[in-house]
Protein backbone atom coordinates (compact mmCIF):
# COMPACT_ATOMS: atom_id res chain seq x y z
CA UNK A 1 0.00 0.00 0.00
CA UNK A 2 1.42 3.37 -1.02
CA UNK A 3 1.32 6.06 1.65
CA UNK A 4 1.11 9.85 1.46
CA UNK A 5 3.70 10.17 4.24
CA UNK A 6 7.32 10.65 3.11
CA UNK A 7 8.96 9.07 6.13
CA UNK A 8 12.59 9.80 5.24
CA UNK A 9 11.80 13.53 5.28
CA UNK A 10 11.31 13.13 9.03
CA UNK A 11 14.70 11.43 9.52
CA UNK A 12 17.98 13.23 10.18
CA UNK A 13 20.06 10.22 9.31
CA UNK A 14 19.22 7.20 7.19
CA UNK A 15 18.99 3.66 8.61
CA UNK A 16 22.19 2.12 9.90
CA UNK A 17 23.96 5.32 8.86
CA UNK A 18 22.55 6.66 12.15
CA UNK A 19 24.69 4.20 14.09
CA UNK A 20 27.29 5.63 16.49
CA UNK A 21 30.74 5.02 14.97
CA UNK A 22 32.73 1.98 16.10
CA UNK A 23 35.59 4.09 17.49
CA UNK A 24 33.27 6.39 19.46
CA UNK A 25 31.27 3.43 20.75
CA UNK A 26 34.40 1.77 22.15
CA UNK A 27 35.21 5.00 24.04
CA UNK A 28 31.65 5.31 25.37
CA UNK A 29 31.72 1.77 26.71
CA UNK A 30 35.35 2.04 27.76
CA UNK A 31 35.31 2.26 31.55
CA UNK A 32 31.97 0.59 32.28
CA UNK A 33 32.18 -2.30 34.69
CA UNK A 34 31.57 -5.65 32.99
CA UNK A 35 30.24 -8.42 35.21
CA UNK A 36 31.46 -11.94 34.48
CA UNK A 37 29.25 -14.98 34.32
CA UNK A 38 30.49 -18.40 33.28
CA UNK A 39 27.33 -18.92 31.22
CA UNK A 40 27.72 -15.69 29.30
CA UNK A 41 29.26 -17.03 26.09
CA UNK A 42 29.28 -13.73 24.21
CA UNK A 43 29.00 -10.40 26.03
CA UNK A 44 29.56 -6.76 25.17
CA UNK A 45 33.25 -6.86 26.03
CA UNK A 46 33.55 -8.26 22.52
CA UNK A 47 32.27 -6.32 19.55
CA UNK A 48 29.82 -8.93 18.35
CA UNK A 49 26.31 -8.88 16.91
CA UNK A 50 24.37 -10.24 19.88
CA UNK A 51 24.77 -11.56 23.41
CA UNK A 52 24.68 -15.30 23.97
CA UNK A 53 23.85 -16.88 27.34
CA UNK A 54 24.00 -20.62 27.97
CA UNK A 55 20.89 -22.02 29.66
CA UNK A 56 21.54 -25.76 29.42
CA UNK A 57 24.18 -27.94 27.78
CA UNK A 58 22.28 -27.84 24.50
CA UNK A 59 20.49 -24.50 24.62
CA UNK A 60 21.71 -20.91 24.65
CA UNK A 61 19.79 -17.66 24.49
CA UNK A 62 20.68 -15.07 21.83
CA UNK A 63 19.65 -11.46 22.49
CA UNK A 64 19.95 -8.35 20.39
CA UNK A 65 18.27 -5.01 19.76
CA UNK A 66 18.36 -2.74 16.74
CA UNK A 67 16.31 0.28 15.68
CA UNK A 68 16.74 3.35 13.51
CA UNK A 69 15.02 6.27 11.77
CA UNK A 70 13.21 5.72 8.44
CA UNK A 71 15.33 4.57 5.52
CA UNK A 72 12.34 4.21 3.19
CA UNK A 73 9.42 6.55 2.55
CA UNK A 74 6.78 3.87 2.61
CA UNK A 75 5.94 2.94 6.23
CA UNK A 76 5.27 -0.73 5.46
CA UNK A 77 8.64 -1.05 3.69
CA UNK A 78 10.40 0.74 6.55
CA UNK A 79 8.85 -1.68 9.05
CA UNK A 80 10.01 -4.68 7.02
CA UNK A 81 13.56 -3.33 6.70
CA UNK A 82 13.91 -2.45 10.39
CA UNK A 83 12.68 -5.89 11.41
CA UNK A 84 14.84 -7.79 8.89
CA UNK A 85 17.83 -5.80 10.10
CA UNK A 86 17.16 -6.54 13.78
CA UNK A 87 16.52 -10.24 13.17
CA UNK A 88 19.78 -10.46 11.23
CA UNK A 89 21.93 -10.19 14.36
CA UNK A 90 20.51 -13.51 15.59
CA UNK A 91 21.22 -15.16 12.23
CA UNK A 92 24.76 -13.77 12.32
CA UNK A 93 25.34 -15.71 15.57
CA UNK A 94 24.10 -18.88 13.89
CA UNK A 95 20.85 -18.73 15.87
CA UNK A 96 17.12 -18.82 15.18
CA UNK A 97 14.94 -15.89 16.30
CA UNK A 98 11.93 -16.85 18.45
CA UNK A 99 10.54 -13.82 20.32
CA UNK A 100 10.60 -10.14 19.47
CA UNK A 101 9.49 -6.86 21.08
CA UNK A 102 8.68 -3.70 19.14
CA UNK A 103 10.68 -0.56 19.90
CA UNK A 104 9.06 2.48 18.44
CA UNK A 105 9.27 6.27 18.50
CA UNK A 106 6.49 8.18 16.76
CA UNK A 107 5.85 11.88 16.14
CA UNK A 108 2.48 12.93 17.49
CA UNK A 109 1.48 14.19 14.04
CA UNK A 110 2.26 10.93 12.22
CA UNK A 111 -1.03 9.49 10.90
CA UNK A 112 -2.26 6.41 12.70
CA UNK A 113 -2.37 4.42 9.44
CA UNK A 114 1.35 5.08 8.87
CA UNK A 115 2.20 3.79 12.34
CA UNK A 116 0.05 0.75 11.72
CA UNK A 117 1.80 0.10 8.40
CA UNK A 118 5.26 0.28 10.03
CA UNK A 119 4.13 -2.32 12.57
CA UNK A 120 2.51 -4.48 9.88
CA UNK A 121 5.84 -4.58 8.03
CA UNK A 122 7.64 -5.57 11.24
CA UNK A 123 5.14 -8.30 12.12
CA UNK A 124 5.27 -9.76 8.64
CA UNK A 125 9.07 -10.08 8.68
CA UNK A 126 9.07 -11.50 12.19
CA UNK A 127 6.55 -14.16 11.17
CA UNK A 128 8.54 -14.95 8.03
CA UNK A 129 11.51 -15.50 10.35
CA UNK A 130 9.46 -17.85 12.52
CA UNK A 131 9.48 -15.39 15.43
CA UNK A 132 6.54 -14.01 17.43
CA UNK A 133 6.17 -10.36 18.40
CA UNK A 134 4.93 -10.43 21.98
CA UNK A 135 4.81 -6.76 22.94
CA UNK A 136 6.93 -3.65 22.90
CA UNK A 137 7.27 -0.05 23.93
CA UNK A 138 6.51 3.21 22.15
CA UNK A 139 7.42 6.80 22.95
CA UNK A 140 6.65 10.17 21.37
CA UNK A 141 9.55 11.68 19.46
CA UNK A 142 9.92 14.19 16.62
CA UNK A 143 11.88 11.69 14.57
CA UNK A 144 10.20 8.32 13.95
CA UNK A 145 12.23 5.23 14.83
CA UNK A 146 11.43 1.55 14.69
CA UNK A 147 13.12 -1.74 15.40
CA UNK A 148 12.98 -4.92 17.42
CA UNK A 149 14.55 -6.45 20.48
CA UNK A 150 14.95 -10.06 19.42
CA UNK A 151 15.49 -13.22 21.42
CA UNK A 152 16.56 -16.41 19.73
CA UNK A 153 18.14 -19.75 20.43
CA UNK A 154 21.31 -21.50 19.37
CA UNK A 155 23.16 -24.62 20.46
CA UNK A 156 25.99 -23.46 22.78
CA UNK A 157 28.54 -25.42 20.73
CA UNK A 158 27.28 -23.92 17.46
CA UNK A 159 27.55 -20.23 18.31
CA UNK A 160 29.11 -18.29 15.46
CA UNK A 161 30.99 -15.26 16.73
CA UNK A 162 32.92 -12.80 14.60
CA UNK A 163 36.15 -13.88 16.27
CA UNK A 164 36.60 -17.50 15.20
CA UNK A 165 38.05 -17.04 11.71
CA UNK A 166 41.08 -19.30 11.02
CA UNK A 167 43.94 -18.95 8.57
CA UNK A 168 42.95 -20.57 5.28
CA UNK A 169 39.21 -19.88 5.71
CA UNK A 170 37.33 -18.62 2.67
CA UNK A 171 35.29 -15.41 3.04
CA UNK A 172 31.76 -15.37 1.65
CA UNK A 173 29.48 -12.32 1.54
CA UNK A 174 25.78 -12.88 0.88
CA UNK A 175 24.51 -9.48 -0.35
CA UNK A 176 26.04 -6.88 -2.68
CA UNK A 177 27.34 -3.55 -1.31
CA UNK A 178 26.13 0.00 -1.96
CA UNK A 179 22.82 0.13 -0.09
CA UNK A 180 23.88 3.14 2.02
CA UNK A 181 24.94 5.11 -1.03
CA UNK A 182 21.72 4.34 -2.93
CA UNK A 183 19.55 5.45 0.00
CA UNK A 184 21.66 8.62 0.42
CA UNK A 185 21.28 9.47 -3.27
CA UNK A 186 17.55 8.79 -2.93
CA UNK A 187 17.32 11.65 -0.42
CA UNK A 188 18.02 14.03 -3.30
CA UNK A 189 15.94 11.95 -5.74
CA UNK A 190 18.96 10.80 -7.77
CA UNK A 191 18.49 7.04 -7.35
CA UNK A 192 16.70 5.38 -10.28
CA UNK A 193 13.48 3.47 -9.69
CA UNK A 194 15.31 0.20 -10.41
CA UNK A 195 18.12 1.18 -8.03
CA UNK A 196 15.72 1.90 -5.20
CA UNK A 197 13.75 -1.28 -5.92
CA UNK A 198 17.00 -3.26 -5.68
CA UNK A 199 17.98 -1.56 -2.41
CA UNK A 200 14.54 -2.28 -0.92
CA UNK A 201 14.64 -5.88 -2.12
CA UNK A 202 18.06 -6.38 -0.49
CA UNK A 203 17.14 -4.65 2.76
CA UNK A 204 13.88 -6.57 3.21
CA UNK A 205 15.49 -9.94 2.48
CA UNK A 206 16.02 -11.95 5.66
CA UNK A 207 19.42 -13.52 6.23
CA UNK A 208 17.52 -16.65 7.26
CA UNK A 209 18.23 -18.66 4.09
CA UNK A 210 21.92 -17.78 4.23
CA UNK A 211 22.03 -18.76 7.92
CA UNK A 212 20.17 -22.04 7.32
CA UNK A 213 22.72 -23.00 4.65
CA UNK A 214 25.71 -21.81 6.69
CA UNK A 215 25.01 -23.90 9.79
CA UNK A 216 25.32 -27.12 7.80
CA UNK A 217 28.98 -26.42 7.04
CA UNK A 218 32.16 -25.75 8.98
CA UNK A 219 31.77 -21.98 9.27
CA UNK A 220 34.21 -20.65 11.87
CA UNK A 221 33.09 -17.02 12.12
CA UNK A 222 30.20 -14.89 10.98
CA UNK A 223 28.95 -11.33 11.27
CA UNK A 224 26.35 -9.31 9.43
CA UNK A 225 27.62 -6.39 7.40
CA UNK A 226 25.63 -3.38 8.57
CA UNK A 227 26.44 0.10 9.86
CA UNK A 228 30.23 -0.23 9.98
CA UNK A 229 30.45 -1.37 6.36
CA UNK A 230 32.33 -4.40 5.03
CA UNK A 231 35.72 -3.04 6.11
CA UNK A 232 34.55 -1.91 9.58
CA UNK A 233 32.99 -5.28 10.35
CA UNK A 234 35.91 -6.97 8.59
CA UNK A 235 38.46 -5.25 10.86
CA UNK A 236 36.47 -6.40 13.90
CA UNK A 237 36.46 -9.96 12.58
CA UNK A 238 40.19 -9.88 11.82
CA UNK A 239 41.14 -8.38 15.20
CA UNK A 240 38.81 -10.68 17.12
CA UNK A 241 40.18 -13.70 15.31
CA UNK A 242 43.83 -12.66 15.57
CA UNK A 243 44.02 -12.89 11.79
CA UNK A 244 44.19 -10.74 8.66
CA UNK A 245 41.73 -10.70 5.79
CA UNK A 246 42.67 -10.58 2.12
CA UNK A 247 39.84 -9.30 -0.05
CA UNK A 248 39.63 -9.74 -3.78
CA UNK A 249 37.90 -6.43 -4.56
CA UNK A 250 37.13 -7.53 -8.13
CA UNK A 251 35.05 -10.40 -6.72
CA UNK A 252 32.96 -8.19 -4.42
CA UNK A 253 29.56 -7.43 -5.91
CA UNK A 254 29.41 -3.61 -5.92
CA UNK A 255 26.02 -2.29 -7.07
CA UNK A 256 26.95 -0.45 -10.33
CA UNK A 257 24.61 2.50 -9.77
CA UNK A 258 26.03 3.03 -6.26
CA UNK A 259 29.57 2.94 -7.64
CA UNK A 260 28.64 5.73 -10.05
CA UNK A 261 27.33 7.82 -7.13
CA UNK A 262 30.51 7.09 -5.15
CA UNK A 263 32.58 8.50 -8.03
CA UNK A 264 30.42 11.66 -7.97
CA UNK A 265 30.87 12.17 -4.22
CA UNK A 266 27.31 11.19 -3.26
CA UNK A 267 28.41 9.45 -0.07
CA UNK A 268 26.79 9.13 3.35
CA UNK A 269 28.38 10.57 6.46
CA UNK A 270 28.56 7.06 7.94
CA UNK A 271 30.98 6.07 5.16
CA UNK A 272 33.46 8.65 6.47
CA UNK A 273 32.94 7.53 10.07
CA UNK A 274 33.67 3.95 9.03
CA UNK A 275 36.71 5.09 7.11
CA UNK A 276 38.18 6.95 10.07
CA UNK A 277 37.66 3.89 12.29
CA UNK A 278 38.93 1.18 9.95
CA UNK A 279 41.32 2.92 7.54
CA UNK A 280 44.37 2.71 9.85
CA UNK A 281 43.99 -1.09 9.69
CA UNK A 282 43.44 -1.38 5.93
CA UNK A 283 46.03 -1.61 3.17
CA UNK A 284 44.09 -0.45 0.09
CA UNK A 285 46.80 -1.49 -2.39
CA UNK A 286 45.95 -0.10 -5.83
CA UNK A 287 42.19 -0.08 -5.20
CA UNK A 288 40.56 3.03 -6.66
CA UNK A 289 39.02 5.48 -4.18
CA UNK A 290 35.37 4.99 -5.25
CA UNK A 291 35.64 1.22 -4.78
CA UNK A 292 37.23 1.71 -1.36
CA UNK A 293 34.33 4.01 -0.46
CA UNK A 294 31.89 1.24 -1.44
CA UNK A 295 33.65 -1.14 0.94
CA UNK A 296 33.22 1.40 3.78
CA UNK A 297 29.57 2.13 2.86
CA UNK A 298 27.24 1.55 5.84
CA UNK A 299 24.70 -1.13 4.95
CA UNK A 300 21.22 -1.37 6.41
CA UNK A 301 20.13 -4.99 6.71
CA UNK A 302 23.23 -6.09 4.82
CA UNK A 303 24.37 -9.63 4.14
CA UNK A 304 26.30 -12.14 6.22
CA UNK A 305 30.10 -12.26 6.08
CA UNK A 306 31.20 -15.83 6.77
CA UNK A 307 34.62 -17.39 7.22
CA UNK A 308 34.24 -20.99 6.11
CA UNK A 309 36.67 -23.89 6.24
CA UNK A 310 38.39 -24.16 2.82
CA UNK A 311 37.29 -27.80 2.60
CA UNK A 312 33.62 -26.73 2.78
CA UNK A 313 33.80 -23.48 0.82
CA UNK A 314 32.83 -24.87 -2.57
CA UNK A 315 29.99 -26.97 -1.21
CA UNK A 316 28.56 -24.03 0.73
CA UNK A 317 28.91 -21.74 -2.29
CA UNK A 318 27.18 -24.35 -4.44
CA UNK A 319 24.24 -24.43 -2.03
CA UNK A 320 24.14 -20.64 -1.75
CA UNK A 321 24.17 -20.21 -5.54
CA UNK A 322 20.60 -21.48 -5.73
CA UNK A 323 19.34 -20.39 -2.29
CA UNK A 324 21.04 -16.96 -2.08
CA UNK A 325 22.07 -15.98 -5.63
CA UNK A 326 23.77 -12.76 -4.46
CA UNK A 327 26.37 -14.71 -2.42
CA UNK A 328 29.97 -14.11 -3.48
CA UNK A 329 33.31 -15.59 -2.56
CA UNK A 330 35.34 -12.47 -1.75
CA UNK A 331 38.63 -13.46 -0.16
CA UNK A 332 40.56 -15.47 2.37
CA UNK A 333 41.73 -15.36 5.97
CA UNK A 334 45.47 -15.53 6.70
CA UNK A 335 47.56 -15.69 9.87
CA UNK A 336 48.28 -12.23 11.30
CA UNK A 337 51.79 -11.03 10.51
CA UNK A 338 51.53 -7.77 12.47
CA UNK A 339 50.66 -4.56 10.66
CA UNK A 340 47.41 -4.16 8.73
CA UNK A 341 44.30 -6.27 9.36
CA UNK A 342 42.80 -6.11 5.87
CA UNK A 343 44.57 -6.15 2.52
CA UNK A 344 42.67 -5.17 -0.61
CA UNK A 345 43.68 -6.83 -3.87
CA UNK A 346 42.21 -5.11 -6.93
Amino acid sequence: MESEVKLTKLANCAGCGAKVGAGVLAQLLGDLKVLRDPNLLVGFDRSDDASVYKITEDLALVQTVDFFPPIADDPYTFGQIAAANALSDVYAMGGEPKLALNIMAVPEKLPREAVHEILRGGYEKAYEAGAIITGGHSILDNEPKYGLAVTGFVHPDRVLTNSGARPGDVLILTKPLGIGILTTAAKVSLTSEEGMALAVKLMTTLNKTARDAMVRYRVHACTDVTGFGLLGHGVEMAEGSGAELHLDVGAVDLIPEALEFAKMGILPEGMYRNRSFAEPHVDPGETELAKQDMLYDPQTSGGLLMAVDPGDAEALMEELRSAVPSAQRIGTVRAYRGGKRIYLHP
Binding site: N12, T184, A185, M264, G265, I266, L267, L289, A290
Partner: protein, 67 residues
Protein backbone atom coordinates in the same frame (compact mmCIF):
# COMPACT_ATOMS: atom_id res chain seq x y z
CA UNK B 1 30.24 31.53 -5.01
CA UNK B 2 27.92 28.79 -3.80
CA UNK B 3 26.83 29.08 -0.17
CA UNK B 4 25.88 25.57 0.95
CA UNK B 5 26.28 26.19 4.67
CA UNK B 6 23.48 24.72 6.73
CA UNK B 7 22.66 22.16 4.02
CA UNK B 8 23.09 18.53 4.94
CA UNK B 9 24.89 16.18 2.58
CA UNK B 10 24.43 15.22 -0.17
CA UNK B 11 22.69 18.54 -1.01
CA UNK B 12 25.91 20.64 -1.20
CA UNK B 13 27.65 18.27 -3.63
CA UNK B 14 24.50 18.21 -5.77
CA UNK B 15 24.45 22.05 -5.81
CA UNK B 16 28.06 22.01 -7.05
CA UNK B 17 27.25 19.41 -9.70
CA UNK B 18 24.35 21.48 -11.00
CA UNK B 19 26.50 24.62 -11.20
CA UNK B 20 29.34 22.80 -12.98
CA UNK B 21 26.95 21.26 -15.50
CA UNK B 22 25.20 24.57 -16.11
CA UNK B 23 28.14 26.99 -16.45
CA UNK B 24 31.30 24.84 -16.81
CA UNK B 25 33.27 27.37 -14.69
CA UNK B 26 37.07 27.43 -14.76
CA UNK B 27 36.95 28.51 -11.14
CA UNK B 28 34.28 28.01 -8.49
CA UNK B 29 34.10 28.82 -4.79
CA UNK B 30 31.90 26.85 -2.39
CA UNK B 31 31.18 27.43 1.28
CA UNK B 32 30.22 24.42 3.41
CA UNK B 33 30.18 23.67 7.12
CA UNK B 34 31.12 20.00 7.39
CA UNK B 35 34.12 17.86 6.49
CA UNK B 36 31.77 15.33 4.91
CA UNK B 37 30.71 17.96 2.38
CA UNK B 38 34.36 18.93 1.78
CA UNK B 39 35.23 15.29 1.08
CA UNK B 40 32.19 14.67 -1.13
CA UNK B 41 32.77 17.82 -3.19
CA UNK B 42 36.50 17.03 -3.46
CA UNK B 43 35.68 13.64 -4.97
CA UNK B 44 33.35 15.14 -7.55
CA UNK B 45 35.79 17.97 -8.33
CA UNK B 46 38.62 15.49 -8.92
CA UNK B 47 36.40 13.50 -11.30
CA UNK B 48 35.75 16.71 -13.28
CA UNK B 49 39.45 17.61 -13.41
CA UNK B 50 39.42 20.47 -10.90
CA UNK B 51 42.24 21.13 -8.43
CA UNK B 52 40.83 21.84 -4.98
CA UNK B 53 42.09 24.05 -2.16
CA UNK B 54 40.29 24.30 1.18
CA UNK B 55 40.45 27.11 3.76
CA UNK B 56 39.03 26.42 7.19
CA UNK B 57 37.73 29.11 9.49
CA UNK B 58 35.98 28.15 12.72
CA UNK B 59 34.24 25.03 11.43
CA UNK B 60 33.34 26.63 8.08
CA UNK B 61 35.17 25.75 4.91
CA UNK B 62 35.73 27.72 1.74
CA UNK B 63 36.61 25.43 -1.15
CA UNK B 64 38.17 26.74 -4.34
CA UNK B 65 37.86 24.55 -7.43
CA UNK B 66 40.18 25.48 -10.30
CA UNK B 67 40.84 24.10 -13.78
Amino acid sequence: MIDARGQSCPIPVVMVQQEVKRTQPRELQVQVDSMVCVENISRYAALQGYAVTVDEDGGEYTMTLKK
